[in-house]
């Protein structure tokens, strides 16, 4: 549904729906590793997904449901 950006790290991923973001910056202030920033349009983006610890604080605190943290139900088999 809609336009969603997906940032992956292993079996976890962070999904951001920029259309919903109201540029409040609560997630940027809350992120313990400081990887979230507001881009030129004022929408939240991930700077460096490798440093994400998937704590889910951004998801819990985002008032507009723009960020969500997921774990893939089916693990992708690693290539040989």
């Amino acid at each position: 549904m809609g336009f969603m950006r997906r940032y992956e790290q292993g079996s976890f991923f962070l999904a951001i729906e920029p259309r919903r973001c109201k540029s409040c910056g609560v997630c940027v202030q809350s992120c313990p590793t400081g990887i979230l920033v507001l881009n030129g349009e004022g929408k939240v983006t991930v700077q460096d997904i490798a440093r994400c610890v998937f704590c889910g604080i951004c998801e819990q605190r985002c008032p507009d449901f723009a960020i969500s943290v997921h774990k893939d139900a089916v693990l992708q088999p690693s290539p040989l």
Binding site: S23, C24, V26, V28, Q29, Q60, P63, D64
Partner: protein, 317 residues
């Protein structure tokens, strides 16, 4: 008990309240509502008083709610909740409903402290099984920041302006949690949007009791309080750290403080971040700052004393 994160992805629970709302950037209300609805495992019926939440989540023809939702008027949320709960109880007794449903009423501080107090008092006294949640943003924010019974002392509002001869609201705020405690409600608590685990645990306790339960949740308002929208959670947490908004619960008449800050921060740290208190930092209003600190200290000491009397845990405080 599964944690809120696990519950949020549970099929029954997820998407009860969605992002299709028009609440301001940085508003604390959606954080509060989502945490509460995510913490309840049972099917939920939501009752809503007039206010920011009701107006911004139900713009025709859209809605942010995926649960049965009812709004009647400003003043009668608790009365409507009583009616709905009674109807449910009777239909259940006749075997027409088999589900175990929970009722949650949301009201702002205007709809709870002032306008809806009479209906709330009646419903609590009759002991209907429902959870009343007051999201307290300390003024009538939906209509543009008019003073309410929850507005703190010396806060600037449009109906209590600041100037040469006035310093904002001259009266102190009402202590609604204690008013509700006087109804001998089985479970009631005070919580903040910044401490979501505490809030979620309180919701679980509240929906598991047989009678009425009540939650008073501090919710920030960037537009009305006059702070940058990204500071919302920080300011809500500072209210807890300064003991302005202590997190406590009352179970069967037993008072218990859930969080005691290691070091009690001065109230000026919380006040200086908000535009509505900016006038207090002018030299002529210096006395007011001391007065506010004194009020906070008195309230905190009184609360700790009550907790000591009822369970005697806090000897060192």
């Amino acid at each position: 008990m599964p944690n809120t994160k696990e519950l949020a992805h549970h099929e029954e629970v997820c998407k009860r309240f969605t992002g299709a709302h028009a609440l301001c950037a940085g508003c604390g209300i959606p954080v509060c509502v989502r945490t509460i609805l995510n913490a309840i495992e049972e099917p939920v019926v939501v009752l809503n008083a007039t206010g920011c939440l009701e107006v911004a989540t139900t713009r025709y023809p859209t809605t942010a709610w995926n649960v049965p939702w009812l709004h009647v008027a400003f003043e009668n949320t608790a009365a409507v909740a009583s009616g709905v709960e009674t109807a449910y109880r009777i239909l259940r007794r006749r075997g027409k409903i088999t589900k175990d449903i929970r009722f949650v009423a949301f009201g702002g501080d205007g709809g709870t402290y002032d306008i809806g107090l009479q209906a709330l008092s009646g419903a609590l006294e009759r002991g209907h099984r429902f959870l009343y949640v007051c999201y307290d943003n300390e003024a009538y924010m939906n209509t543009g920041n008019q003073r309410s019974g929850a507005t703190p002392f010396a806060s600037q509002t449009t109906t209590a302006p600041t100037g040469e001869k006035s310093f904002g609201k001259p009266q102190r705020r009402k202590d609604l949690t204690e008013i509700v405690a006087a109804h001998h409600v089985t479970y009631l608590a005070q919580a903040s949007i910044s401490d979501w685990h505490d809030l979620a645990v309180k919701v679980r306790k509240a929906v598991s009791v047989e009678g009425s339960s009540f939650l008073n949740v501090l919710s920030t308002c960037p537009r009305g309080w006059g702070h940058p929208s990204d500071q919302s959670i920080k300011i809500a947490h500072l209210a807890v750290e300064t003991c302005y908004w202590p997190l406590y619960e009352i179970t069967d008449g037993r008072w218990h403080v859930n969080y005691i800050p290691e070091e009690k921060r001065p109230i000026t740290e919380w006040l200086c971040l908000q535009q509505r208190f900016a006038h207090l930092f002018e030299p002529r209003n210096k006395g007011l700052l001391l007065q506010i600190q004194q009020q906070v200290d008195e309230d905190w000491d009184r609360l700790v004393r009550k907790c000591q009397e009822s369970d005697g845990v806090y000897e060192t405080l």
